[in-house]
Symmetry: none
DNA sequence: TATGAATGAGACTTCATTCAT
DNA sequence: GATGAATGAAGTCTCATTCAT
């Protein structure tokens, strides 16, 4: 017999995979159960509700994400190095939690309206503060261009990184670090050939 | 009062707005009807089904998108100018069809599996051919960097542009052309200050 | 412009055809209107309701049927001749009112439960009295066999005649009189060859 | 309590009873559920749809019917004995599956148009081949009269038998075999007294 | 007379959830 | 831990009917 917390994790992984592929609303609890080789009702021995599944998936992911981010932000790096470290850390998270990230991308905005998922909005705020702050510091310190709308830049960098979760497949050609390197190269230096 | 095709368009605009805000599955037909000031059943005088609404929204949008793209692609521009024109055209579409674009982003992958929405997959293929081809041409002609994974670059540019639909609000600070200009500047030349 | 009562009759004929083919419940008012070249709502200028249509179809048919039957029954014929005349008259009605007869066969039992259609039950009673009475008279007078359950015989003769409405097509190989002749021959003398 | 396949059969029996009494279209799924002592939605644990219920009712009935018919047809009996055996078998089926037979009578023609119910048309064809063939053989062999339209005779015999399902009540005065005997006597020898 | 648009009741169906075994 | 069966709320859709034009 697999012990309880192990089984939970397995089931959540299954659920996350299905949520990511089909969307939360379009996913039936029965579909998850099928995938896990049990009947729909049996899931309720492990979880309170369908909502508590996505809740646990998202909060677990965000906890881990912020552990990594906080370490980077506390390291006292320069703006460019901070951005590089955050991007790299982000792609590592995508590698580890791809389904959770995909779910986060698609469902976060709607869920954040419910009190239960207030932490999503909080995270969003912290997130913006971290990235936007670093970019602004970079402009001030003359590392980043000052002729761009800074909020546009923020969204550009943010989206650039996270949307990758929609196509990324672990075990592909590139390691997360390699992808991070190329993305950073594009974001920082552009794709046009310097003449 | 309002003539028939006009009413259809109004109702589709309403539906698109709600679909974009809540997601297709989370949107009830009653919600759309409420928004339109009628009863749920009344919608079925105008449309066959909820599905046919999203179908018409997406196909109308894609038709218009490809009209613009095809014009650009037929103009015989150089790779860099083609990319610039495609990006600008894309932001114009986002400006005109923001809800449709947002729906496309969120629901496209799941819908494409259904035969009825096969055109979504077709469009995806054409899309990739146009962008990827232009990028490859650019590398060959020495306009774009050749040290990047070209598929990664394609996804980078593609996502960067279209995710904008999730935060873009028409009538905001920047015109679509201005946003396009800044995006292109970031994508082509990077956000780092040249030294 | 066609005068009102004429148009009514046309519309009822159309409705009867559709009711007979699809069943009353399975027939939508819109289908009838389509067939008549108008919109569903327009039918309500001519009729109060869908129910009033089937009502008028059935009562018109029964009125005419009983006109014929009453004449036969008042003619003072012998039992065998009465049966022959009733059967012949019945096939004539099927020829003239095929859809109405088919509807009567399929819907009568359910409708008869409603007060509005009480006349259906009345007709049924009169019908049974006429046929069963004639058969009994025939047994008494030594014209019909006395070794058969008389109610079974009644049902046999009744069903034999009326079910024909389900396959009969006016303008086919046989005239109603010819069909009546053959049916009577079978019912009275059997299909086995006498030895 | 009751094991699964048993429950299915019970529910189908309930549904068949209601379909036969009210007609398929006029029967609500809620009515069936009421009759079965459960809520409407609960039926969907056992069946895919209302349509799949009538499908299973009809196909089960036809399967059993053809088992009996095929046995008779394979027995190598003479035409008259074959007809006798088919009629007797038919009344036994009516006795066992009265609601299914009644449903078949009322709904078959409309349903047969749908691909899902193609087997109804197939059965109809096989049915005609069996009966018409036997009658023709009887005429050739001099057992049945040759002065009748054979197709008319076929319809006469066919309808005569099956319409009985509309009034037959199991456990009544006559056993199916007794009814078959009297019907055959009427069909073969007629109801007129021989002189 | 007929149209176009809508109403409102009610149908079939889905699905998260519960619970005795 | 899991099953089988059910609940009940809610969702999509149908359709007879109404009514201003």
């Amino acid at each position: 017999m697999t012990p309880t917390p192990e089984r939970r994790r397995e089931l959540l992984a299954t659920a996350a995979e299905v949520f990511a592929a089909q969307g939360y609303n379009a996913t039936t609890v029965r579909r998850i159960a099928d995938e896990a080789g049990m009947l729909a009702g049996s899931l309720y021995y492990h979880f309170d509700s369908k909502e508590s599944m996505i809740d646990e998936i998202l909060s677990t992911f965000l906890d881990e994400l912020w552990q990594g981010y906080d370490e980077v932000l506390a390291a006292g790096l320069g703006p460019r190095e901070t951005i590089e470290a955050l991007v790299t850390e982000s792609f590592r998270e995508i590698d580890r939690h791809r389904p959770a990230v995909a779910i986060y991308q698609k469902e976060s905005r709607r869920l954040a309206a419910q009190p239960r998922f207030a932490y999503l909005a909080d995270s969003q705020t912290k997130f913006e503060k971290a990235w936007l702050g670093t970019l602004e510091r970079g402009v001030t310190e003359g590392v980043f261009r000052d002729d761009l709308d800074i909020r546009l830049t923020y969204r550009f960098v943010r989206d650039t990184v996270w949307v990758a979760a929609s196509w990324y497949r672990p075990g592909g050609h590139h390691s997360p670090e390699e992808i991070a390197r190329q993305y950073l190269s594009m974001v920082l230096d552009g794709i046009a050939l310097r003449t």
